[in-house]
């Protein structure tokens, strides 16, 4: 394992310290927790909390700030944060009108966030949440823990964040979230596995000439392993999967996010973006919002994911374009 770290078990703590030092005008760390919250003045908006295991930087702390998240809870690497920490995030985010949580669909996250909600209920803080499950690599069946939450989650942060900033109520945010999440679909491909510093070795084995379609952001298995192929072909496969799910037709309006997994340089991300563009242009989709870069990473995994959001409501586009003050949006 070749990494710029000190004690592997101290990675999350030291990372938070570095982040809070670097962006001290924007974010703060709640003392004795791994909760990062925004510094901008509180004014009765609904609080927005997200989080999960660390290792997905800039998610989630990079999206804390005006117009997006109120707070982010940083778990250990690839490990859901605990309910007491989430409760602290809820408390610091509550401006009197409740707190909405954005949870990715993993057994651990769901159980911990639910327990935190129970604890908040006992403290009379209204808490509601949505579970993001945008990864179409997994079939949604009773035989799995369900579709996973991946890069699309960042767009949920953005859209709900803008709604909260605009003054939407907790119920309105819940309604928006429940309509939004099913309209978001993502799918990824990995070239190399991530190495969790505490584990010390790669999360899975893959040949020098192999790729895996549909890998999860914690190295969960994908749906097919193939030989390395040109960007064009990767794009064709991923877009094909998305098309199967959306069943789109010409002129429909979508938002697009191409997300790097951590070790894939922007150079490759943009080459791939060009290939995705060609395919979507062929189908005459209206792509009114686009973004490319590292948003939901998997530590040092090489690979990327494509997210599309069917923009069913014109407000969603306005929310995507609304200004924010965060480290990484």
């Amino acid at each position: 394992m070749k990494k710029i770290i000190n004690e592997p078990s101290a990675v999350v703590d030291e990372m938070i310290k570095g982040m809070v030092f670097a962006y001290d005008g924007l974010i703060e760390r709640l003392p004795e927790t791994n909760v990062i919250h925004r510094t901008h003045s509180h004014n009765g908006k609904v609080g927005l909390v997200s989080g999960g295991g660390s290792g997905h930087e800039p998610s989630h702390a990079g999206f804390v700030g005006k117009g997006m998240l109120s707070a982010a809870v940083c778990g250990e690497v690839f490990t859901s944060p605990t309910p007491d920490q989430i409760l602290e995030a809820i408390k610091v985010s509550d401006e009197g009108n409740g707190v909405f949580m954005i949870v990715k669909n993993y057994s651990g996250d769901i159980m911990n966030f639910e327990m935190a909600k129970d604890l908040a209920d006992m403290e009379d803080i209204s808490v509601d949440f949505v579970v993001v499950d945008d990864d179409i690599a997994v079939e949604d069946s009773t035989y799995t823990a369900g579709k996973r939450g991946i890069a699309g989650t960042v767009l949920v942060h953005k859209i709900l964040g803008a709604a909260a900033e605009e003054g939407a109520s907790l119920t309105e945010i819940k309604t928006l979230a429940d309509k939004l999440v099913p309209a978001i679909k993502s799918i990824g491909v990995a070239l190399t596995p991530a190495t969790n510093p505490e584990v010390g070795k790669p999360g899975f084995d893959i040949g020098d000439d192999e790729i895996e379609f549909g890998v999860g952001i914690h190295g969960e298995p994908g749906y097919r392993r193939e030989k390395l192929q040109p960007s064009k072909d990767l794009a064709a496969e991923l877009v094909h999967q998305l098309k199967k799910e959306f069943q789109w037709s010409a002129d429909e309006e979508y938002a697009l996010l191409i997300n790097g997994m951590g070790a894939t340089p922007l150079m490759e991300q943009f080459v791939f973006t060009n290939d995705v563009h060609q395919l979507l242009a062929q189908d005459e989709l209206a792509l009114s919002f686009k973004k490319v870069g590292d948003y939901m990473t998997s530590i040092d995994m090489a690979g990327l994911s494509v997210t599309l959001v069917k923009l069913e409501d014109p407000k969603w586009l306005a929310y995507l374009n609304a200004p924010v003050t965060t480290i990484s949006w």
């Binding site: 778990g75 690839f78 490990t79 309910p83 651990g108 799995t144 190295g219």
Partner: protein
Amino acid sequence: MLSIENVNTWMNLFSEQLLEKKTYLSELDTAIGDGDHGNNLARGAAALKEKLADNEYETLTDLLKDIGMVFVSKIGGASGPLYGSAFISMAKASKENEELDLAGLLEAGLDGIQKRGKAVAGEKTMVDEWIPVVDAVKENSLTPEVIEEAVAKTEQMKATKGRASYLGDRSIGHLDPGAMSSSYLFKTMIEAGVYDG
């Protein structure tokens, strides 16, 4: 015999065992999960040992509750809420019925796990370790072999809950890490004399 003292011993032995088997548990989790189960539990174990060293307990309920809270707040992931819910559930049950025996206590623990995680038998989770153990304790027939057999059986199961479920058929042929860590829980329970069937 269930006592504050031997539950204390039990938990110290369990913690030692988790710290010792940290790498092995994470390796099991690397095969079908995300490789952190040993590290997660080791955090819980270290915190629990400290907690127990620093506190005197008057009631079993208080002790069980603290164990549960440490697990909930230090482990994280899926196993944290599950082990945590098990002990918090046991604490509640022991409060409601001071005469509760070990079988009743463990039953409450299993119930806590299943309420939290919604897993039933055969889904390749820690539940597949707990069910046969609880049954054996009820029938006063628990042995290390029962414990080991239960964890061994998870090898041939296909996971349909938790992270391992994403592997589908590929999860077959691997032991479930959570069942393995639960097997340590029950073995140290025997060692500590909490179970003296």
